[in-house]
Amino acid sequence: MTEPVLEASALSKQFGGLSAVSDVSLILRMGEVQAVIGPNGAGKTTLINMLSGDLAPSAGSIRLDGREIAGLSADRVARLGIGRSYQKTNIFPDLTLVENCRLAAQARLPSSMRFFRPALDHRAPLEGATRALARVGLAEPWDRLAGRVSHGEQRQLEIAMTLATEPKVLLLDEPLAGMGAEESEQMVALIARLAEGHAVLLVEHDMDAVFSVATTLTVMVNGRVLERGTPAAIHESAAVQEAYLGSAEPLP
């Protein structure tokens, strides 16, 4: 087995008296897709926010390639190689598709404190942008305004922007949110392809998608890990069915 890329141990997050995440550990390796599932309020997005640096954990450690990153700012974490996408589409609607990705790829440059040469004369970000757009399979032309393309395309753009920053770890927060059946299918195929060269952590409500694409599932309930295992094992787990569906009905 390959070395872990991302290793979270005993992560907890308290908001005042509320324990959003308690004692969650996770090991993510290159080339795998893991998924976190659980009912609303289980703490999935809080977990992602801690891993991405948007929230500082109340306790626990996060190691990226063996280096402690818990408590670092979101931009530091991003530059160290953790990219995230958002549950709610979070793009620049007034920029074109390629400009969105170019701006994302520009973050890979050592510094953008460059005041004179036109940004478009820097080739690397532009090339990174077109690579990312091609990889997610966004249809050309790419000079369309991001605010004017379809919802499905905006979700693809969201992933492309994250890819353009060339992360090792991809944190995808409900990439299928609001997508139609056909679009979902394409997105699932894309996520499977992204496993090559990335460690992918997926938070998703769509059970069919999760079971088809992830190799390891973590089930969270009330901020804690209830169960972890292969899709088949989770499918059989009585505890999961009890907690997740509130009854002993088998999962679909």
């Binding site: 931009d75 991003a78 793009i91 007034d94 005041f115």
Partner: protein
């Protein structure tokens, strides 16, 4: 970024040509007024970098205008000229350092708090200038001799000459415009505009937003310092009002009325507001009513904001694209 269309560019060039030729026919009074306006245009463009492109609405931008002006006063010997080539860089650097210190504090806030805190810092400088004997207190202080442009025994122009001063102001206004256009097209320019549009997303992409906003704040402060220096050089006089909130408010008005985030708009705003004020307070035209020039001015501002939500510069940008109707095509 909204780049000026070919038509706007052509109109700007016509305006520039008119300004360049004006001294051939203009009166001394209007030469001085136009030079003042061009200095204010530099000030307004520097604020547009913050308000229109970095999304930082500052109500204390006069702080740096004042620092530039007072720096020239302090650097000028009592009855002799300061060297332009020495005093101008020092004045700009002083304004930049003031912006670095103030920016490092105020940029930790945002929104309404940012507006209030920038105002508070400018007011602190205002009261400091009033209380400080070295700065001339509430009476202000005179700069008896304009800065001298002699360099290595050669004197390319004389700031004491009205026409020369006019052309220096014009050249610096154009240089400021070109500099800011260049900066906005650069990697840095794209980052600050991204931060204005969506700061959390920029951080998630890996940009340390605070540093970029601070750099924009320092650049804007330095250019405001340049404008303040020129203003002090023109009138040979500084007083605490230069730091005042009226000054910050009136330059913000030029930016808003001219067109936020257009860069050429604030230039138009500086011209329209100052010329209108000059016209409305002209006793020869309005007889006794000229004393109440603020009343028609206020009505004009209200109408302009209602009828031209994107400012005068917005007129040149054509009808607003609607994202909603556009999705149908």
């Amino acid at each position: 970024m909204v780049a000026p269309s070919p038509l706007v560019r052509a109109l700007l060039l016509v305006g520039l040509a008119a300004l360049a030729l004006y001294p051939l026919v203009g009166s001394a009074f209007y030469l001085q007024l136009l030079a003042k306006i061009m200095i204010l245009a530099i000030f307004a463009m520097s604020l547009d970098l913050l308000v229109g492109f970095a999304g930082l609405v500052s109500l204390g931008h006069a702080a740096f205008f004042g620092v530039g002006a007072y720096a020239l006063m302090l650097l000028s010997p009592d009855y002799a000229a300061a060297s332009l080539w020495l005093s101008l860089p020092i004045a700009i650097a002083a304004a930049a350092i003031a912006a670095l210190v103030i920016g490092a504090l105020v940029l930790r806030t945002s929104g309404v708090y940012f507006i209030m805190v920038t105002l508070a810092f400018a007011q602190m400088l205002f009261y400091f200038a009033i209380k400080s004997r070295a700065l001339g207190g509430s009476d202000g202080a005179y700069i008896y001799v304009k800065p001298d442009a002699t360099i290595l025994g050669w004197r390319p122009f004389d700031l004491g000459n009205r026409v020369h001063f006019y052309y220096v102001a014009l050249a610096l206004m154009v240089a400021t415009y070109v500099l800011l256009r260049t900066v906005l097209r650069s990697l840095f320019g794209h980052v600050i505009q991204g931060i204005r549009a969506n700061e959390p997303r920029m951080r998630a992409l890996g940009y340390p937003a605070f540093r970029y906003k601070l750099a924009a704040f320092v650049l804007a402060g330095a250019l405001a310092g340049l404008a303040g220096y020129l203003s002090a050089a023109q009138y040979g006089y500084v007083n605490p009002e230069l730091f005042g909130w009226q000054e910050s408010g009136s330059v913000l008005m030029m930016v808003i009325l001219g067109g936020i985030g257009t860069l050429f708009g604030p230039i138009l705003g500086a011209f329209v507001l100052t010329l209108l004020q000059d016209f409305l307070s002209d006793e020869a035209i309005f007889h006794g009513f000229h004393k109440h020039w603020l009343l028609p001015m206020g009505i004009f501002v209200v109408l302009a904001v209602l009828l031209l939500p994107r400012g005068i510069g917005g007129l040149a940008l054509g009808p607003r694209r609607s994202a909603v109707e556009a999705t149908d095509d």
